[in-house]
Symmetry: C2
């Protein structure tokens, strides 16, 4: 689905890391940084930093480096983070609850504006001052609150149905935390985050390296 | 750090998905599945399924398919999931709290056996019946409870210090949820899970596709 884009997925992930380092450097009064500085702070090679940035144009001055704030602003614009994004979470269980309260989203420009669930015990309540609505109100709220992104935090068997509802409501991008594959129509972007699978990489490598 | 392994990282992630499908198929009484079945359920091509499995040997019977339970058991063994793993979470904030209660870990053989924090208000309490200990007890508990894996769920500035403590205590693999790069000595495995960065992939693609 992402094949039409020329930029490797991994580059996008690294830009996110670079921008955090640049923001930090700028805050600490470090106005100029080198590709070595960025590389060291983010755990990649300086050549990789230069290659990643070269996809988007020419930056920095040879022998001097990059202006921290300028490069930060530029990367944030590339990532679409020069503005704020409204997000809906579906599922007010443990995971949905934690994500609703996760401060890391807000810092990067993501506002969780409402939560949806089908449990009458939860509907009408709030998590971290965010309203929990019935799933029946999804379409209405997506339009009213200009919500573009959705997070699926429901059990696996419910994930596809929730994805369909999000897409029908007008959502353009989805993070799916349910450990199951969901299918959506072509111009909708989906990323699956499988928390248990992250541990399975570790156990695979540990077994393999014995 | 993972360069010595011949199997692509993405293959490991897909094996995890395949195993979930196979477990499901077996439970539903579907004793034999084809690479097409696996592919359709997990959103990849049948050729990819066959290629991923071929790294580990010959499976299935041409024209018949794979025995669901046999292939499931074999994949679980590859992933090191033919036994259970004890895990410590460091950080009893919102994210650590949610991860402690996340049912998806247990289902795959991961037991969160204790939680560590440095907040005296939290130490001595429990989350989902799991004890919260002072970080000072890390080494003792890791040995006592045979903990091999650690999850870092602390704010970014504290992450490296916690990683050092985990490694010193004898932890072999780490999932780092803090949005910062951590460095560890060579034979320790680390995976970084950056929740906000997942949303940034979506916003990048959305901006790029306009």
């Amino acid at each position: 689905m992402f094949k039409k884009f020329k930029i490797p997925d991994a580059t996008i992930g690294r830009l996110s890391m670079y921008s955090r380092f640049l923001s930090d450097a700028d805050e600490k009064g470090k106005t100029t940084v080198s590709s070595h500085d960025i590389a060291q702070a983010t755990g990649v090679t300086p050549a990789q930093v230069r290659k990643d940035l070269a996809y988007f144009g020419e930056f920095g001055t040879r022998g001097v480096g990059y202006n921290s704030r300028e490069l930060y602003n530029y990367i944030m614009k590339i990532l679409g983070l020069d503005k704020r994004w409204s997000i809906a979470i579906v599922g007010a269980g443990n995971l949905g609850r934690a994500l609703s309260q996760y401060k890391g989203f807000q810092q990067r420009g993501f506002d969780i504006v409402c939560i949806f669930d089908n449990d009458p015990q939860k509907i009408g309540k709030k998590i971290a001052n965010i309203d929990i609505y019935s799933l029946d109100l999804l379409e209405e709220k997506v339009k009213e609150l200009n919500i573009v992104l959705g997070i699926i935090a429901v059990p696996a068997p419910a994930a596809q149905d929730v994805a369909d509802k999000l897409v029908n409501a007008g959502i353009r991008g989805i993070i799916n935390f349910a450990p199951v594959n969901i299918t959506v129509k072509q111009n909708i972007f989906v990323r699956r985050v499988d928390l248990a699978a992250q541990l399975e990489y570790l156990t695979y490598y540990l077994e393999e390296s014995r």
